[in-house]
Symmetry: C2
Subunit: 587 residues, 2 copies
């Protein structure tokens, strides 16, 4: 028996505490018959179960997200602008790539006449367009799309993004989303105005045929309350980073001040096409397995296992059934609860090949390094791509790349053997690479999309912090990013990226993901350490050489005084000493 | 015209950069006719708009949250256990309070026989019970409930929590949720087994009449994959904190190891009953206003404004219509878009009383201080409750309370005038109050529910960090919590708490909320500073007294030697000097 105590802050319930009753565990303690009466003074305010039942009702998912629009990235006008652009660009790039078209995008933001705080966001692509019947649902219904139910890497995955942007526009300006879509030269373009009925989560729309100045593609226009400002976490920065992680994209950006920036292609090759895969047996949940069994059209467990999962061969299927003590000829729909439990355990135990990697398209070390080298003049560049791994049945790949140290910087070695990098760089370069005595700059990508908010809540940040950077010659405050003139890029590519919220700003901290993040960053770190150590050796050598040049002549004079030797002998001895010291110095 | 450049990291797009094309803004740049052809080698992989349309479909909200279960707080087995208990307890307390019943809760966790990693969570209350027809929806459907559509403080608000816990249980064990509910002595208890069909977000269930050993109330049992561990962020800690912030609750806690803790009531009074309110005109969104206008049954704008909003009197309504240049007799449903825009602007401009506070029930300074004083032996306690404020039309109140410094600790003043507190406390007390050289302990509550995860992402943490603690005599590392032996409690009570995710672990950073958080904490901080300064004065005095006692006798001896006076005269002079110095010291 333990004493109850009501301790607010104590980590340990066994502590003594006064004035709290002690009570044996008893069923009577809970029938609550004495306290069951309503205790409100007036007595009239007691609500019965029947009264409460009347107010119970379904909540539409749009109502939910209207109230919780910060979950979708529409917390404030500035972030809302970025989120809207991001969702539209993600969709355009996904559509172009799926259709095998090299993307050519226009992004434009215009201030709405007569308003200080309202803008129109326009995103237009040269993709395949959207068939007429789908437009209203795609733009006027939350949780609708083609990417949710498949296992394949894409930027969008939730079926929320673009309709949420439209919903936010409607909420803050009352205006509908305007879509022009054309599926090919022979088809006419269609123009839609779509509103989202939030009570029903259903679109309301008008549409008409229209002339368009493009052969195929989609153009979206959303009016919204917004704030346009450049700098960190701006639309400008997002588009820049997108251009770098997607060198196959041509992007024209018209900002509200009338400036145009064109990001030309770095390559005419589309990224490797990703294939849709079946779930991997490792990490699949029991409930999902039960659902798959009952949904399956296969007639035997043997066929079910081979068809519904990736990497399950006939042999593996036999192994699984053996371990689970089930017949390979059992009918999937007739597997009982206890049997499913055994089957689930067996899936976890059997040795199975790692998941196929053709469902994932990493950015690649070459592209990452090229991006870094183009932007940053640094002493040292390195990159590392991990082999694919699995979390909850979903394959993923982690890539990391870093740039360290400024070209032309001088180095100093402190008394403790630490290296200080003297800043010689121009001020804008300092901003790129960061100061030598500030935290490194971390740039995060998920499925090629730059992540700009919620850095501290992101598994990528946590993974980088969890690395012992002292081993790699960087100082690191407790629980923080390491210190140094360094940019670190980390990319996670997966068939399903587990974001911490619907706004897709940070990655959830699944242990498998954290582990891979750490390994990728450590690989870069080891190469960095080798580089820094080499630099340190050179710096130390220079210091020793300085000592020799400074002190040996004086030692020569001292020797001459003590031994009474000639100037010639003295100079000769000093030369010999210098030679000997130089040789030992080189060790 | 600005040059394009594809800079990955640059904060400034105006920088020069080589090898990037310059291009005039032109419409032609975007018709993409040269690049529109599919570029895949095989040519067979191009997906048309028609092909893509086939895979477009609706995503059920349960499917969405099954994949994203970390959004609901079911990231890992340990957190899942806490989340399930929390959701069930929240519902029980809400139900009891609405029915005017003093809550008497049983919380029990049992290990499931035959499994290391499966537990049964049981929560039973003495509330009003749930009518038969509602049980399946409440426990087997996400986004269903009575609390979402009203503006009134309650613990639950989303209609997701308990059904999500059941869904997680089903996903990890395959077992249904079991509910026993009884609405009164005259009714029989009903027993349900509920499963959630995730493809349809609909319940599937069996039910039967059963005997029960309680007159009225609800009992929920969920089997789930889980991990039971005590310490920080455990079920134990959550229940302790719940007992303190809800002193009207009696709570029996049976842990998996067979221990029972009973938290007895501190009071027999229920918290002030909260009233449902209408939205406040300040901060309401245009889209919502338009929806309210078209949904309203009122026939004039005048009636609409007074009925649908709180704090709008006839006079205020006239003022609003005047500013908006609209007739008070206009029909709400016939207000045009541009008129709604003007009405919206007018709502923001007119002077209106702060929202009513009877929709919110703060914990209260007395209860907060009592909780602190009961648990922590400190030198100083203070609390502060802010007047109600509004964010996005939702009233809220911030309360803060703190305990500082350990009783019996000695104080030291350093050369810089800083105070160090020497630890004298027993080790468990140190854990309660924290070490003098570590960050303060921050305890967060939202609508009386303790928040245990995601501290760094929470607006409460950000608000506390944004305070310049140096003004209040505490040192504070940049961007971090202040340092010192202190516990700080912050509570936000609102009709709608804007959580950063569906798991309700952290508050979103709305500017209005951050501002109030800061003000509440500053109020406590000012009182703390006065206390610390007093302590510092005393410490300085003690130091001066020490100097006097140490050095004056020696000065006496010196004087005697120089002046050749008698012992008697010397002692007399020393006494006079001591007196004089003591008097100046007291200034």
């Amino acid at each position: 028996m333990v004493k109850g105590q009501g301790s607010l802050f104590g980590p340990d319930a066994e502590e003594e505490s006064e004035g709290v009753s002690k009570k044996r565990r008893s069923k009577k303690a809970n029938d609550g018959s004495e306290t069951a009466k309503p205790s409100r003074g007036s007595g009239g305010s007691r609500k019965t179960a029947e009264a409460m039942a009347k107010s119970q009702r379904e909540i539409s998912v749009s109502e939910f997200f209207t109230k919780n629009r910060h979950l979708l990235g529409f917390d404030n006008p500035r972030k809302a602008l970025l989120t809207a652009v991001k969702e539209a660009v993600d969709n355009s790039l996904d559509a172009c790539e799926e259709a095998g078209i090299l993307p050519d995008l226009l992004v434009e933001i215009r201030q709405l006449q007569g308003y200080d705080d309202r803008y129109t966001v326009i995103v237009q692509d040269n993709g395949p367009g959207i068939v007429k019947a789908q437009v209203p649902n795609i733009f006027g219904k939350l949780l609708y799309g083609s990417k949710f139910h498949r296992l394949k890497q894409s930027r969008g995955q939730q079926g929320i993004g673009i309709s949420a942007a439209g919903m936010y526009g409607q909420l803050t300006t009352g205006n509908p989303v305007r879509i022009t879509s054309r599926t090919g030269k022979r088809a006419k373009a269609h123009y839609f105005e779509v509103r989202l009925n939030t009570s029903k989560n259903k679109p309301e729309f008008t549409d008409e045929e229209r002339e368009s100045d493009f052969d195929h593609g989609t153009r979206v226009e959303i009016d919204m309350q917004a704030e346009y400002r450049r700098g960190m976490r701006s639309v400008d920065e997002y588009l820049k980073q997108t251009a770098v992680s997607n060198p196959h994209v041509r992007l024209t950006w018209n900002d509200p001040n009338g400036n145009t920036i064109v990001y030309e292609r770095g390559t005419d090759e589309l990224p490797q096409e990703t294939k849709e895969i079946k779930p991997h047996p490792h990490g699949i949940e029991l409930g999902l397995l039960i659902k798959m069994l009952s949904d399956s059209n296969e007639r035997t467990l043997h066929a079910f296992l081979q068809t519904e999962f990736s990497r399950v061969s006939a042999k593996v299927s036999h192994d699984i059934c053996d371990i689970a003590k089930l017949s390979t000829r059992a009918h999937p729909k007739r597997i009982a609860r206890a049997e499913a439990d055994r089957l689930h355990a067996a899936l976890g135990k059997v040795k199975i090949m790692a998941p196929p990697t053709n469902c994932i398209a990493p950015i690649g070390e070459a592209v990452l390094l090229a991006g870094l080298q183009k932007e940053i003049k640094a002493d040292f560049y390195t990159a590392s791509t991990r082999p694919p791994a699995v979390y909850r049945g979903n394959p993923f790949i982690i890539e990391a790349a870093l740039a360290y140290g400024r070209e032309g910087d001088t180095m100093e070695v402190t008394d403790e053997g630490k290296i200080l990098t003297r800043k010689k760089a121009a001020s804008h370069e300092t901003e790129l690479l960061g100061n030598a005595d500030e935290a490194i700059r971390l740039v995060r990508f998920a499925n090629r999309v730059p992540l700009q908010h919620q850095q501290s809540a992101c598994a990528i940040t946590k993974g980088v912090i969890s690395v012992a950077w002292k081993n790699y010659m960087l100082s690191q405050p407790k629980g923080a990013l390491p210190i140094g003139p360094m940019v670190l890029i980390v990319h996670i590519a997966s068939v399903w990226v587990p974001f911490t919220s619907e706004s897709k700003e940070a990655i959830a901290s699944y242990p498998e993901i954290l582990k891979e993040l750490k390994l990728a960053v450590q690989e870069c770190g080891r190469k960095l350490a080798t580089h820094i150590r080499k630099g340190k050796r050179i710096a130390t050598e220079y210091m020793k050489r300085d000592y020799i040049a400074t002190y040996l002549p004086h030692i020569g004079l001292g020797l001459q005084e003590i031994l009474g030797i000639s100037d010639e002998v003295r100079d000769n001895d000093v030369a010999i000493l210098t030679d000997v010291l130089e040789r030992t110095r080189k060790v």
